[in-house]
């Protein structure tokens, strides 16, 4: 038996649990589930409706068949409604629980959560936190989801690069009346021809990407009166940043 320290890395250990949480919590994945789920009842509704149309063309209409299809259409419409209600709960901004928050504390917590994931991707996670930043009034859980989502994007962006020198940097700084949180990587960056598309829903450069991670992150940051943006990192790589206005809690 080794010392108890290594138990942290076991699947049921602290690291394993955190990894699990970070996976489940990633906005992109939640959104993926929602988009895919919504498509299913829509498909079923379209199929039943078109089948009804065809049945009505037939000389002897089987009313029982029609009734079956119509009931299925109702059931599936109700199912779609439930999914949309869940999505609205997810994105509703008045569900926000704003609190005066130290940006560096928030970033440190995200880094702790993402560290195990970074290890799996062979990425070194670095912090560059500015001192004396003013506090911000945000829902820390929502903003942390956004930052975590950006970190996960950065980790995956580095997968194509040779292991050894992969670095993701989390930085905080003052930016006028706002505080900036930036997630920088030294990967290939965002190609010029898709730079205008990355915030569009359903656009993704990844094979299994949903194209919803950045749009939803954007929605959340805007609900806080802030903004989400992209600039190229120097000398190479991507930099996604959020600006959160410094304002007192009202």
């Amino acid at each position: 038996m080794q010392s108890g320290v290594s138990d942290e890395a076991a699947p049921g250990g602290l690291v394993g649990r955190m990894l699990h949480v970070s996976r489940l919590a990633t906005l992109g994945e939640m959104a993926a589930g929602v988009a895919h789920e919504l498509n299913q009842p829509l498909t079923a509704i379209a199929n039943y409706a078109q089948a009804c149309d065809r049945l009505l063309e037939q000389p002897a209409v089987d009313l029982q068949d029609l009734r079956t299809a119509l009931r299925e259409i109702t059931d599936q419409a109700v199912r779609a409604g439930q999914i949309i209600r869940r999505l609205r709960v997810l994105a509703r901004s008045n569900d926000m629980h704003r609190a005066t928050t130290d940006v560096n504390d928030m970033v440190n917590e995200v880094a702790a959560l993402a560290r195990a994931d970074a290890g799996i991707h062979n990425v070194r996670l670095a912090l560059q936190l500015a001192d004396d930043l003013p506090p911000v009034a945000v829902d820390p859980v929502q903003i942390q989801h956004v930052i975590l989502n950006l970190v996960r994007n950065a980790l995956e962006a580095l997968d194509a690069d040779a292991a050894g020198n992969r670095v993701v940097t989390l930085s905080t700084s003052a930016a006028g009346d706002a505080v900036e949180v930036a997630v920088l990587d030294n990967g290939p960056g965002v190609a010029a021809d898709v730079r205008d598309l990355i915030f569009d829903p359903f656009f993704s450069t990844r094979e299994y990407g949903t194209g919803l991670g950045l749009p939803i992150s954007n929605t959340i940051v805007r609900a806080h009166g802030g903004s989400l943006g992209y600039r190229a990192n120097s000398p190479r790589g991507a930099c996604f940043f959020i600006h959160i206005p410094c304002q007192p809690v009202t």
């Binding site: 498909t43 089948a51 065809r54 599936q76 990407g209 194209g211």
Partner: protein, 213 residues
Amino acid sequence: MQHSKPQAQPQAPTVFVVDDDEAVRNSIRFLLRSVGIATRPLSSAAEFLAGYSPYQPGCLVLDVRMPAMSGLELQQQLNLRGATIPVIFITGHGDIPMAVEAMQQGAFDFLQKPFRDQDLIDRIQKALAKDAQVRTALREQDRIQARFDSLTPREREVLGLMAKGMPNKVMAAELGLSQRTVEIHRARVMEKSGATSLAHLVRMYMDLERAAP
């Protein structure tokens, strides 16, 4: 060469529908039934593979995104088994890159959910036609193979040299036989293979060589 394949019975083609979502699966079955197409709905790739027979004509309507084994993984499994069943993928919004990969791996076609009923029906009919065409070609190939398999080793040797265009005289010297014996072997090869000319014989021979694994 052993040819103990069961003689393919002219079975009715089946449209397999594999989707983990019960509502989608049932709606496709309902839709296709309204136009007289029988389907076999299945809830997982594993369930499909468990009942899969290469002798069953038909086509496969397959959801790309499923838990456990995805549609793409099922397609890879089928490719590994040398299956010829045409696959029509049905995909959600975010799945286009997966659909592209599926097409690169030889999928017959793909449809984005939700789809127009006529689009699905057209594609299924085309897929069934393709499947029938492939099966006819394979049966014809099996029939020719069986005829060539009935050749004796010596006749097969003669066949190989005939395909190279070797004259009887040279062949007799090559095989250490009389020219008369070579002529008899040649006649047997032509008779057993059912070839109507030397060109026909060579064409069948080349086709089989090409098809050989």
